[in-house]
Assembly symmetry: D2
Homo-oligomer: 118 residues x 4
């Protein structure tokens, strides 16, 4: 059992102990993931770039970032379970796909979309 | 090295081979995570609940869901690296925190927020 | 002065009385618009379609929907002011553009994207 | 008929000519509003603060900002119609509510949330 599987097992046990599967439609999970991502975004609200970069050095903000990242991961694991996705394998393959879309010689130092790479 | 660390190592190698760290401010990573979450949400647009539940059974949509979930994870790993977060430990601890906020006897079968649990 | 201009004038007066323009970078306004849109989305969290449709009939939820819609509009007006957009004219022209992208005979009863219309 | 009502009338005529009301559940409209807000956010992706501030001066980006703002407004009008909200009145009242939550003497030059104002 890899780390993703172990986390997912603990998460499903937490869910089922509370009889919450009935609320976890795929739509609700995707909605919740978006809301957790927005909470992460909220931590940057009203800040300029330099202030955002300085966030991790503040212990209270570091903990808030940590909690929100954890929430995003937990919903992502629930979605992956509902859809039937091996998340670690999916990320590994997506990275390989991106490597082909953004070959080093064309993408080096460029933030252009792959559809715009010369 | 656990699975999260192995994926992060591959991801940072991909990033640095393209000299992309310069674009990966914490703000840009958080923004990108939100955009990938929105792409997942977009897959549910114009669908009723039953159609969303049926999405994983369609091979083309399954692949789209898999790709978007992978993208969310990849940006989450980049954020965790930038902030200095052990993502697996953070999720494990958040789950324990949630277990205290939502005790089984009060939260069973309820979707109320912990602040509203009787 | 049309309705949009009157609202914008009141809004800028509110902002300037509090010396808040310094925080209203275009990025922060766009971020805030996204956060307000997410608060609207949050009202649908954990609900099935039928429950979402029933929301406007509940007075407390109706007021919450009204407040969140107002917040979205207020940030949209601030963005339009910052960018230099006549919002009413922009919406009118976008509607005409959409009418050309989605001709009635091809789009009737279809939710396909215009790029997929036969 | 004010500007909001005139725009809404044109929008509903556009919708009904295409028999699209069947797809416009309240949930789908709120989801779509979030997706349009995300498209606005996407225009800021990979940019630093100074580059975001410079966006309106670039004619192509100005037009993209204008189109996305229009899309946000169009979905907001559809939501207001579905819920039964007078959007102009709602925004006016929200502004008055905010003025009470953020009294000038306490909020001047501060970006603190009203719950944190001293």
């Amino acid at each position: 059992m890899n780390d993703f599987e172990a986390l997912t097992a603990a998460l499903l046990e937490f869910r089922d102990a509370r009889d919450w599967r009935q609320f976890h439609s795929l739509r609700n999970l995707i909605t919740s993931l978006n809301l957790e991502a927005a909470e992460l975004l909220e931590l940057t609200q009203w800040k300029c770039d330099a202030e955002v970069e300085a966030m991790p050095a503040d212990p209270a903000i570091h903990e808030a970032l940590r909690d929100e990242c954890a929430d995003v991961l937990l919903y992502l694991l629930l979605i992956a379970d509902a859809v039937g996705i091996d998340l670690a394998a999916a990320a590994q393959e997506k990275l390989e796909k991106n490597a082909r879309k953004y070959p080093v010689d064309k993408a080096y130092g460029s933030r252009a979309k792959y559809t715009e790479l010369g």
